[in-house]
Amino acid sequence: MSLKLKKLMGWEGFLLVVLLLIISVNSFHSPAFLTVENQVNLFVLSVEKIIIALIMTFIILNAEIDLSVASMMGLAACALGWMVESGTSTSTAIGLCLIIGFLGGAFNAYWITVVKLPSLVVTLAMLIGFRGLARVLIEDRSIRVFPPWFENLGQQPFWGPLPLSVYIFLVLLVISVLILQYTGFGRYVYVIGINQEVAAYSGVRVARVKTILFMMSGLISALAGILFAARLGSVRGDMGLGFELDIITMVLLGGVSIFGGSGSIYGVILSILIVLYLRNGMSLMNVTGHIQTGVIGVILILSAMIPNIKTWLEGIFEKKYAS
């Protein structure tokens, strides 16, 4: 059997079926679903999360985790608001916030690669640390200080019907696919995820790869925080609270193993679409609040079971097509 067909029979094939099912149910139930406006909105309403889901895919493939992403979003957004409020020009402040993201990621990387602490512990600490900093900067306030051009950037279409943030996502998506599928660095990410020791003995510079990944994670999270601030036009300390769970859900549902080394960016793209379409469909059918959270929770359980289901499914197909 060809590799492509095999792939289609696996987890990604299953996701594709689920996605098509959701799309048909949604279009059947709501005439508004397939409108351009709705399609644009459903991306815009979650664009910050799906941008981070891309870099999270690299990190989890690498058998690590970054729980501090949403807190970094909040920190970057609050730092931006704080700086602009204290008189810094918005463009300078954006640059400084990206640097904050980069340094935050480097800080995570130091404890993970040099001190060799587990990333779960380090980034959990920073989940609290970055969020705490954000709250210290803004206190219990909400501030709205941005110039109109910055708010328009987040709220108005940039080119065609889409705002800038969606284009940023698309560009990052293409870059992620290219790096992960077609470069040596992408292969290192997988190899380290499968077996770190073997990779190290084979001459892969493990610490370097991990450091780059966590720095990029911090940088992209800060970028997402800035985009979030632009979309909402104001900032406060609890921005993005709990987003890390949604982001990790998307990646795991995409078939990326939590133990690293297996899964693909294509699966993550499909699962991003599934989560967005599912939420949008429920909203259009006036299902909100706790029921929506519950359904997403069921998905989380499903995605935790992915490695097992996947092996099981593969087993079945192997038997069927072995001859």
Partner: protein
């Protein structure tokens, strides 16, 4: 036929001759799909507002739908924006928002208006007034501040003392306006002996409010009163004081629901608190939104309309904000051990 019409006009003239201003009485049976959006789900007062809106919906015989849609507490800001955006996509005719997203919701509200949707806020407005046509104010926001100051004075007595405010979320425009107006009133020499020492937020979540109340007591040993202008905060603070046996030292007051507060009022933990009817607030919001969405009124300053059983209301400039229109409902009811039992049933 003509006779009938003429006599009808004559009768109407007799009926309404007494009112000088032009006013509009709602035509029944016109179709408008409406959404009532609370700050988030699971709060009793918002369910009461929904009951009031449903009552008006039935009364007006609107063949359209009235949906009660809200986010979960931890997702309130992003959730409100998402629901408003989706409602716009669905082509709903109008939405009634108790805003918990501050000005963060303004872009989505403007987009809804651009699509011809009616956007009315109730309970808590959009601070900048951007994207909102009308705000249904429960009471005059300055009056809330005065009622809070007066209750503090009445509980602390002529000797005065220290008190702290336990508010909801930093972005709730109504809370901020009340706290600001209370501070303004406290400048009056009449209140010179009562001292506001802190203002903290419990995010309208019971557990956080409970912990914040206890933290206040720890931080200020001389604290004599916690003023919580939120139904969640006041109940949580009263429970905290009761659980810790602190009711003799630290009293609780603010805005509360009689049904939730009755035991604390009778045992002296919360001797005095105030509120308005959320059922009426939902009912009035529905009438205003229905009439704007069906084109019966425009929603401009100076218009008077009749909101069913509640009578006549006039749209005016909101004196508590730089920009924006409001309809003021009122009045306050102050509850003490004398009347709380009757009100809680």
């Amino acid at each position: 036929m003509y006779k009938k019409i003429i006599s009808l006009i004559a009768v109407s003239a007799l009926f309404f001759g007494a009112t000088v201003m032009a006013h509009t009485i709602a035509k029944k049976g016109m179709k408008a799909d409406l959404v009532l959006m609370p700050k988030f789900l699971g709060i009793l007062v918002f369910d009461q507002a929904n009951n009031g809106a449903q009552e008006a919906h039935r009364e007006l015989g609107n063949p359209g739908k009235l949906e009660f849609l809200g986010p979960t507490p931890e997702n309130s800001v992003a959730g409100q924006i998402e629901i408003l955006t989706t409602a716009t996509t669905q082509g709903q005719d109008g939405i009634m928002i108790s805003n918990n997203a501050g000005d963060q919701i303004a872009p989505a509200a403007k987009a809804a208006r651009a699509k011809g949707m009616t956007v009315v806020t109730w309970d808590s407005p959009i601070p900048s007034g951007d994207g909102e046509q009308l705000f249904i104010a429960q009471v005059d926001f300055n009056e809330t501040g005065m009622v809070m100051a007066d209750m503090a004075l009445s509980i602390l007595g002529p000797g005065g003392g220290e008190f702290a405010v336990l508010s909801a979320t930093p972005d709730a425009a109504n809370q901020n306006a009340w706290n600001a107006s209370m501070k303004e009133h406290l400048k009056d020499p009449k209140y010179s002996k009562i001292k506001l020492v802190d203002l903290v937020y419990g995010d309208d979540q019971s557990e956080k409010s409970y912990n914040q109340a206890l933290a206040l007591v720890d931080k200020y040993p001389n604290l004599k009163l916690i003023m919580a202008p939120t139904t969640v905060g006041i109940a949580a603070a009263a429970k905290a004081m009761q659980d810790e046996g602190l009711c003799d030292q630290v009293k609780v007051s603010g805005l509360g629901l009689p049904a939730e507060m009755v035991s604390y009022t009778l045992n002296g933990c919360a001797p005095e608190f105030a509120l308005w009817s959320f059922v009426d607030l939902g009912y009035l919001s529905y009438y205003a939104t229905y009439m704007i969405a069906t084109g019966q009124i425009e929603g401009v300053a100076g218009e008077t309309f009749k909101a069913g059983r509640m009578g006549y209301y006039t749209i005016e400039k909101d004196p508590t904000r730089d920009k924006g229109l409001r309809v003021k409902m009122g009045p306050f009811s102050v509850y003490t051990k004398d009347n709380v039992e009757a009100a809680s049933k």
